[in-house]
Subunit: 519 residues, 2 copies
């Protein structure tokens, strides 16, 4: 027997309608390419999103069509986050950090019909456009009229807005409809697309706004530095409007000085971004202090923020750091690390240490839930990423404490299996990095007849440490890790190759060293 | 095109599994009938709920069957909130404040198969049991063995737990399944049942836990004084477990002294109940002060808490009062009144006054959403409560400010339409109550040939005000309300008749006075 409750679909138009109804005067502030601040309200966002949705339909966008964006965090991109799904189309965010050939692959694979391009990014996008002949329109914003020939079939964003009107009924009437598409910039294989539904993103939004998670409130002023062009800006464009928070968009200004100004001047209460950004901001704030007492949470994710930086923010700047973890395939929020009540009596630097870690048991993390993908776009679900019983394999190797605190120790594919025992490359790299003469280190597995696999260390020496030798490093490691972890083979390289998003690209190292071509 | 996200059903077993997985050591404390405190953990709740769910299936409960409870707020009732829906059956909470004939009607209408009865309530329930022959089992808890003949077909709760085990897979595999049933104690017509689904209650739970709403957190200690036997204890049994909060259950102890002790001794951070309870608690705390600095929110609903009492709590006791509103048909939370950021600079007693109220426009409130009923149990949806376009008619007359703050001014059926103009009986009653010689007043509509309807005032005089006359009161009102609001007919009565839950029963007054039988 079913319940007798209303059939109310979890679609994203509801979030914008709610924001416009309850909080029409709340503010959205964008730092424009020229550095000036553009301000408008939720009511403006609502009206323009409706106009744009109607314009898309007029352009021939049909339900399910993919419409791409190539843009910074600004009010236009925010409008597109609502207008495209509101037209029952799929908002496909293109990662501006990818290489042109990757982008062209993705646009063609997604069969994007229209691509919205920020004027400041035209030079970056031109190489993509020449390889994606099936795109019907390129719509420019933050661009002068003269840019009309910079890409094929150019339209101007503001023309579409002007020629449209607000008499439009949202077309997203079913919560299972696709609303967003985001490709992972995976370090192996071709990029793979996560195809979000209205339902999954709606549930992600209210999950994110739970008091136990980020808990965005009406009284907050949120600065999403995390880009809208990747991982949906951690869902903040929806979480903010759902809760009525003021929004501050940095546009292309990701340097520490403008970010610090925005935080101080706009009285930001929650700022979200990757550790690199917050590392730079920390030094800016130390050198040029500002009143950032407004900031109640610095949310960090994307990669691990060093403990020392977290402690520096908390003890020296009085800023509460909240570490999150997620994946594109998870919409993207997976975990938010908030101290438990039982931790209240503990100092910051004691957290973890005083907990009853079970600690050593490592395993692959598999996840399940309403905002996790069940398969990639236009790819069969295969056992390498979906288990037989329906769990998504993250590829992360983790430990979890009895209290539910998770530590990512490795990626499965980066583990080394030596003589039946696992060696964590992440831990081994940490140990190597600890040597004062080492700047960077990447450990990969190399085939070994006796042990099946052995770790090999690719090490970048500091300028002063040019004289570091294999033996010296092995001796150092021997005192710090298990004997069988110490790599027999150490190569000194000039630089660890990196992916477009700045992660170590071990694929390149493997290609280089698995065939014995030692440097 | 649909999204490619996991099919993860929003069912309540997920909440208990989450609570048990993340917070197995969090505490549930119950004040038992004898006044002693019984303490156990989420892990205990989980194990016993599983055992009870399995026991229900063994007793022959099939998916969709209704299983009723007649109980206070305690750990057993909490277990039933999970065990019954976990067996895919419907947890039907019986309101212990109703009269036996109403209860018998409800049990028979619901076709309850099993009724769980708290030992302290057996005398109340005996009259019901004699009129409900189709109930197969009465399961007792908090009851001695000697009670086995007090009701037909008695089983003992702890026997069911003992004879069962935890090897049980939850049966609620579809989010649309019915999970709960609650009848409204309406002042007109027969009681009507709201049939909640897993999906609606799950969404209600995460809505309630939004930082903008009640925002229950893991660090909270929650005291639900609002009864589980009506309106699902405002969803707190689910909201608490979903967030990992400690739970304090008062059992039958609803007097101010034990409640004050529980708040102070258990360090309660959120307490939820009706104004009557908090009124009594206020005087207790004034007379016998306790350290209640732990309390971060006193949540109030059910009826309007007087402004003076809110101010007294906030200014004298330092307690933040959060006023909520809802209905059984709304799962029940409808609104939670939280100051906006724009109010931060205002003193408590200024809120509202300084807002740009549009103010005077009254209208019937209609609601829509994923946790609102679409029809009553075993009743056709009729236009008197569901509009043609699918909105639920609350019967409340409200004003809403531009900021979205709602004030309930009346019930539609209590409005008086006089000469084409509306007269608010609530406002008129407030004006009458303002007279120093008046103790209580109820205004009803009576038919009038000229004006169609006219208000009639039923007034209870104070002991000292025995000499109040019609003329004196009319003169007083003439200076305070519009001329046409002043009632020509005023009757002095000994007492305003009340319903089982303490609300004015105007139905009785109408019956008495619509036929001209003036007192």
């Amino acid at each position: 027997m079913n319940g007798l409750m209303m059939n109310w679909q979890l679609t994203l138009d509801k979030i914008l309608e709610h924001g416009n109804r309850l909080y029409p005067h709340k503010k959205i502030t964008t730092m424009q390419p020229d550095g000036s601040l553009f301000r408008y309200t939720y009511a403006d966002l609502y009206r323009r999103a409706k106009r744009m949705a109607k314009a898309l339909v007029k352009l021939g966008v049909a339900p399910g069509d993919r419409v791409a964006t190539f843009a910074w965090n600004d009010y236009q991109h925010l409008e597109l986050y609502y207008a495209i799904p509101g037209a029952a189309a799929v908002c496909h965010t293109l990662n501006i950090r990818l290489f042109p050939d990757q982008l062209a692959y993705i646009v063609n694979h997604a069969e994007d019909k229209i691509v919205f391009v920020d004027g400041t990014l035209i030079p970056l996008y031109q190489k993509v456009a020449s390889e994606t002949p099936d795109v019907q329109h390129h719509v420019l914003f933050n661009a002068p009229r003269e840019a009309k020939d910079a890409l094929p079939n150019v339209l101007f964003y503001e023309d579409l807005i002007d020629d449209s009107d607000e008499d439009f009924a949202w077309l997203c009437t079913d919560e299972n409809l696709a609303m967003g598409l985001c490709y992972t910039s995976g370090t192996t294989g071709e990029p793979k697309g996560a195809l979000y539904s209205h339902r999954s993103m709606f549930l992600h939004t209210i999950g994110e706004n739970a008091a136990n998670a980020l808990g965005v409130r009406e009284s907050d002023v949120v600065l999403p530095v995390v880009p809208q062009f990747h991982a949906m800006a951690w869902g903040l464009p929806y979480a903010c409007v759902a809760s009525g928070a003021d929004i501050v968009m940095p546009g292309p200004h990701l340097r520490p000085q403008p970010l610090a100004d925005l935080i101080a001047n706009e009285r930001v209460t929650i700022a979200a971004g990757v550790p690199t950004i917050w590392n730079a901001l920390y030094y800016e704030l130390k050198q040029n202090p500002r009143d950032i007492s407004c900031l109640r949470a610095l949310v960090v994710g994307g990669s691990a923020m060093p403990r020392s930086l977290i402690e520096a923010y908390e003890s020296q700047l009085g800023v509460n750091v909240i570490h999150a973890w997620g994946m594109t395939e998870m919409s993207p929020l997976g975990t938010v690390s908030i101290p438990l009540k039982a931790h209240e009596a503990l100092g910051v630097d004691e957290i973890g240490r005083e907990l009853p870690w079970d600690g050593k048991t490592m395993g692959e993390l598999q996840v399940r839930g309403p905002w996790i993908i069940r398969q990639y776009f236009k790819r069969e679900p295969t056992r390498d990423y979906i288990t037989e019983d329906g769990w998504f394999r993250t590829g992360d190797v983790v430990t979890i404490t009895p209290d539910g605190y998770m530590t990512i120790t490795d990626r499965t594919k980066d583990l080394v299996k030596s003589g039946g025992e696992w060696i964590s490359t992440v831990e081994l790299e940490s140990a190597i990095i600890g040597h004062p003469k080492v700047l960077e280190a990447a450990v990969i597995a190399i085939p070994d007849e006796k042990w099946s696999e052995r770790p090999m260390a690719c090490v970048v020496r500091t300028q002063e440490g040019w004289d570091l030798t294999d033996e010296e490093l092995q001796e150092y490691l021997g005192e710090r890790v298990a004997k069988f972890w110490v790599p027999e083979r150490i190569v000194f390289i000039d630089e660890v190759p990196k992916t477009s998003v700045g992660k170590f690209d071990k694929k390149v190292l493997r290609r280089q060293f698995s065939e014995g071509q030692l440097g």
